[in-house]
Subunit: 361 residues, 2 copies
Amino acid sequence: MGRRIYNFNPGPAALPLPVLQKIQEEMLDFKGTGMSILEISHRSKAFEEVLDDAIARIKRLLKLDNRYHVLFVQGGASLQFIMVPMNLAVPGRKVAYVDTGTWSSNAIKEARILGREVAVIASSQDREYCYIPRGIYVPSDTAYLHVTSNNTIRGTQFHAFPQTGTVPLVSDMSSDIFSRVFDPEPFGLFYAGAQKNAGPAGVTIVVVREDMLERVPKDLSTMLKYTTYVEKKSMFNTPPCFAIYVVQLVARWLEETIGGIARMESINRRKADLLYDYLDGQDFYRGTADRDSRSLMNVTFLLPNAELEQRFLKELQTSDLGGLKGHRSVGGFRASLYNALPVEAVEVLVGFMREFVRRNG
Amino acid sequence: MGRRIYNFNPGPAALPLPVLQKIQEEMLDFKGTGMSILEISHRSKAFEEVLDDAIARIKRLLKLDNRYHVLFVQGGASLQFIMVPMNLAVPGRKVAYVDTGTWSSNAIKEARILGREVAVIASSQDREYCYIPRGIYVPSDTAYLHVTSNNTIRGTQFHAFPQTGTVPLVSDMSSDIFSRVFDPEPFGLFYAGAQKNAGPAGVTIVVVREDMLERVPKDLSTMLKYTTYVEKKSMFNTPPCFAIYVVQLVARWLEETIGGIARMESINRRKADLLYDYLDGQDFYRGTADRDSRSLMNVTFLLPNAELEQRFLKELQTSDLGGLKGHRSVGGFRASLYNALPVEAVEVLVGFMREFVRRNG
């Protein structure tokens, strides 16, 4: 099958090998149709089954009751930064955001471009976004509170979501959806670009609660209204069929091979513990996130100086470990431990890091 | 490789078999990266090469000079119905449209939702959109003239574009891009959802001329501005990497296997002639489009009555011919003869139609 590396990419990221093998196997003839999944009509029975199964599995995995609609939208989380305030703002009320780094900041920026009155009610900008703000209070007349559940660039994550009372919570969960159990109840809407934990780039999973749809302005452009996707089951126009098919295969793998989100979470905790325990037990590498805010998905760390970082990077390039370079905006290193990354990969990484210290520490 | 049928689907549609085989071959290890194309970073050298090669090939195939930018956008043609008037309307001037059926009508609807002043300067609605209006005159103070170059549902196509003088022409070319030679000069912008002639569902090719960018309002949402895609080479956020990769493979097939658009056009004319010549030489089946407006891409026809149509449909279902049912809004039959459909498929279809007449005519 060719060489396969340990893929620590931050997104697009590793997919489960059985999912890739299934795609490969079905590429020329999808379920006896005599056509590729890339060539079948989105109105065909074969594709409708894919779509329905993907929705059903996502609802089971996340324990969503019938108030929640699962939608597939194009444009990535960045388009949701626009659609959320377009659809869910309420005239005369502020929209509130917590700023925990690049993606939150971008979401805030887009709400402001649309002329919404934005309250940034908490921020960790004062210490380079290395922590998640605590004790967040949101006034009850706020239209919604938006948070980024996991911050891929800074390696921080909400371990408990803010208490918002009657104010609906909205979250960008692009980098931790399906990684841990959470209660959907406080959420009016959450969304995730699929390319980290749920599938390939090219589709965004949006989960919206029925009561939020009353807020959608009637005069919005068709493709920018959540109601269009609800009414047409994400098929007002041709959806990104292949990406949805891969999401379905990933959801099936989560249910049938892993055994659900709770099991996935315990594997993810094992991976994160392996790496954080190693980081905490030495003083060569330095984790950049505060301990109480550390992400289970993205572990960010630095080396003692730039020269050693260069050497580390160079040695990585000839190893079987890929995707560990930190985001271009912050430097350093980042190990993304998404669902599809096996425990073994983290063991190999820790071994590599140990060996590097032995020779350079 | 499993059974493969003759795929007359209207979109998503047939892809060249060598393209599908290449995808299959590279699925687990893309060019020695040890990762799937679905798992590599959009910022990686491997993906940048895909993107650059796709753009270069599209520019060569369409003979676009350096004033034209090739962009990859998500959301399908339906999002372009919104982005075109958002970006290219000019305050105080009307935007003009030709209405040749469902997709034109949808484009007009979205321009109106945005509050633009729309002039529908020609329409073929009077005869169920079975023809392309002629003698179109557009006032010189119009912001742009929008046409749908090929109408998949009604089987009509512009064989010559309207003369617009200094008014930039804008066209939805979703169903005939890459199918025939045309002069890009009068176009300020054209776009095509890839899933008919250029790749899979999930990416839209947008070609925009440099001077159009001056019109883009500064205060537009980032993901809805053409300037964002130009400045960031379609990578402001994660693009639909896999769909772009397939577009690259299709463009390569067009250049290297077919030998360019002129060669492709002559093959497409051969296919269309085969089917239209047969239709014109008998009186059982009846083509629905006026002769001078017939599409090279989508051939629409009816049978003498509903009972025979049912029988025809039933026999198709046990044949090796797929995707021939007409659009749900108009009924009848439609043979989509996109680039990837081989001449042989049309020969088999004509044989099937002849044989059906012999038994039922």
